[in-house]
Symmetry: C2
Subunit: 375 residues, 2 copies
Amino acid sequence: MTISSFKPPRRTLMGPGPSDVSQRVSEAMARPTIGHLDPYFIGMMDEIKSLLQYAFQTENELTFAVSAPGSAGMECCFANLVEPGDTVIVCQNGVFGSRMKENVERFGGLAIMVQDDWGRAVDESKLEAALKANPEAVLVAFVHAETSTGVQSDAEKLVRLAHDHNCLTIVDAVTSLAGTPIYVDEWGIDAIYSGSQKCLSAPPGLSPVSFNDRAAEKIKQRKTRVKSWFLDLNLIMGYWGDNAKRTYHHTAPVNSLYALHEALVMVQEEGLENCWIRHENNHLRLKEGLSSLGITFIVDEQHRLPQLNAVTIPEGVSDSLVRGQLLNQFNLEIGAGLGHLAGKVWRIGLMGHASNAKNVDYCINALASVLKKAA
Amino acid sequence: MTISSFKPPRRTLMGPGPSDVSQRVSEAMARPTIGHLDPYFIGMMDEIKSLLQYAFQTENELTFAVSAPGSAGMECCFANLVEPGDTVIVCQNGVFGSRMKENVERFGGLAIMVQDDWGRAVDESKLEAALKANPEAVLVAFVHAETSTGVQSDAEKLVRLAHDHNCLTIVDAVTSLAGTPIYVDEWGIDAIYSGSQKCLSAPPGLSPVSFNDRAAEKIKQRKTRVKSWFLDLNLIMGYWGDNAKRTYHHTAPVNSLYALHEALVMVQEEGLENCWIRHENNHLRLKEGLSSLGITFIVDEQHRLPQLNAVTIPEGVSDSLVRGQLLNQFNLEIGAGLGHLAGKVWRIGLMGHASNAKNVDYCINALASVLKKAA
């Protein structure tokens, strides 16, 4: 057996992530590897921290990138903030709420589920009822932007409700960061995690996170040890924290961090608000195009995510056939439905670098062409 | 605050890792990102599996790269193989044995420590005594190549002893894989983990692992759930396993895997045995050069790792001054001592792509120049 170098095709990535990575970010990632304790590298880590604080709109000291994909960022939040016996209210309106439940339970907590239909925003009154019925709850977790359905919940209101009942909050912002407004400090979010490969358009593999002082305090006061050495923030704080105290914890993914740094520099250059507006405008352009094809959204207009458009597959059309043709004939990736939405919806991403008018038009024309043949 | 693109200096990396990344690997990493469910990507994952099987010298089906650095690979082994109440014998002869102990305890096990001095190989008779004294032990863990001291233990003998006492084995091969012989199947190693950034010379961020059928069976038969969703092999088996069953678990670090793929293709091209011989030859060249400078090794000749040379800092020489000058004047990184060896030893890595005659000569000349000034 002899295996050759891998030469991937050049795709247009309009699925639920990863999104298209810009030339600038690719080039940054290919720069020479340096040591993770090199002074230049440590300086770059400090810059990533500042840039992430900007992206999250926070001054939280404990803001950094977990050295693993978004799922590990989620796990970092739950592993550190849940102690055995804790009651945690988890709002579920898609796939990722059930992963939160798994996290709570694996770390010894009791998960109280607040269910909403897939494709609906989290209902604040249901959360309020659950908080009243479970006064022992210490934590509320929800997904800001559900990648499985393209729905956005009102993070500010949900956090306020949680705080009114003395709960801390964990917010999944994997798909929302840099695509739609998030104000971590203004909204009082206690712990938040995201991913590098969605609206930041860096390659997958890193999970930006941020914890406020209340969350950090709870972690310092834990009665039991975190059930992970790799994700224990009591250890990681020494690594990403104050320069003077920076000690070896694990070998950071140097080149992936170069890529994240460059992606964040690009967000800073564009300006976060401009970035949000761009995502919104391209969403509207896509909506118009889809409408001309008679394709409808599964989410109410007011709760739609501009960066992740979940649409109903037209009657009589084969999901896999269409996606296969888009991929093979147009090098265009769009996403399939997950869970019980499989075969029923497509998920069209307009994330980060991929959120541009050219992609929208290309996608609409490709879809029109493939659907015409399918008809 | 405006932050600019990061342009790292070009170093020669002769510390304990990361090692120098070749142009081929850098270029591979910068190739266009594709989706983690793209058929081309899935094909590449299958190739990585084959290439890792070759590097580990195994036919284990459960051979893949954990989507995070070596510490997470370690955690993956312990999280899956340790159940609460399990007795685990951990052989410690450097920094990484204590991290293993942390892992055992965080997952609810009892760690029985077998201690050897730092810089000495694990003493087989001590392990045997511990196995006899703790017949309830189910697992033995040890470090094949201690990165903190540059010592190699006899993995084959240690595994055989463990098996004689009905224990499974976890072997840390972070620094040994592709640098020094490992025969996973022939030696009967049950679970093994490594890192991408040592003798494979891919950027840091991935941890190759392999589990044999006995280990996989123990994981399937667990009475309690793995205390991690991200690292639960019962879930990951579906992701890296048979094509037909490949389901979405987490978003793979696509570009980092391109880099690992290319690094493994290069090992395959050179041939694993040639790779080991090259590491040995460059070690001998370094040894000769160091000897001319009067610098001695801390490890007995028979247990020295060719890829990680721990040497005594000459009397009266300032550790940080010399390393600082090497870095700033020669762009050359060598490693500091860890733990109680800090300030007393240097760790000179000759790993992967960095293990070449040019680097050896450069390092010796740079050291000679700096030490001359320091004298």
